[in-house]
Amino acid sequence: MRVIVVGLGGIGSNLVDALCRTILFSKSNKVSRKALLVDGDKYEAKNRERQRYTAFANKAEATKEWLKESFPELEIEARPQYIDSNNILFIREGDVVFLAVDNHATRRLVSDHIGTLDNALLISGGNEEFDGNIQIYERRDGKDFTPPLTHLHPEIENPKDKNPAAINCGEAVVAGGVQLLAVNLKVASLMIEAFTLWLLSMDIPYTEVYANIKTGNVRPAKRIVD
């Protein structure tokens, strides 16, 4: 019952402090005090506006270092690589996965893998410039308790983007559009909210939440498994 954070950019790097705090002080036995951080990217000066880091190094390894100082009670490991079909088996039964990546191809990959497990929880977050959303995919006893990320989301089912692990060195990485720290934080906060309810064994009254900082609106939606 580990917690895994995949993607340590604008959402993930701002999520981890609150996540570790939540795990450390939770009385729930639904998760252990183990966390795994996964990212193949490096922090660069251009990330400073939205991402939390202390070194220009691999995101998973650099984040592990400062988290270990803040939370010595937790067993924190780093996996400095992008998640792909060759290595995804490290996500195992009972894991809780926070997915904070910047492409739908990885969302599809991870959602499909979670669908092969009997028990697992996936909380995925993403955003555009002013708005974002989270999705919750839970497997219980071999069945979909909530719908997978692809449900009602053809952009994830048939992603037009690429998993960064599949991008060749000669291939230009398309620069992401404008993002705002406030939106990253909003999405990270929604992910922690959902996790908190799950830890408390409360029914999460939604499977998806949309938020828009331009209007201040936050709307939960409960999707039904087909």
């Binding site: 959402i11 993403g126 938020a211 709307r219």
Partner: protein
């Protein structure tokens, strides 16, 4: 919470992402008509392919006639970045 929603009444709630709007007098209109009317207000784009009526996906949005009280959602694509 919104105050104007009246299921079974003469109004219809239209949703897109975090936004929603309550409309009067749209019964018998089609989904494309609603889409055209609210494109700018609710920021509905061509990427919003999936339409739900009362939480259920409808096959052919072009032929569906809106009934009083229907809740219509243009499902907003998931945020891509992070």
């Amino acid at each position: 919470m919104e105050g104007k929603l009246q299921f079974g009444g003469g109004t219809n709630k239209v949703i897109c992402g975090g936004e929603n709007m309550t409309l009067d007098d749209v019964a018998d209109r089609t989904i494309p008509e609603i889409r055209a009317k609210l494109t700018e207000i609710l920021n509905i784009t061509d990427d919003h392919q999936i339409v739900l009526v009362n939480g259920r996906k409808i096959g052919d949005p072009g032929s569906y006639k809106i009934m009083p009280g229907d809740e219509i959602e243009f499902v907003k694509p998931a945020g891509q970045k992070g």
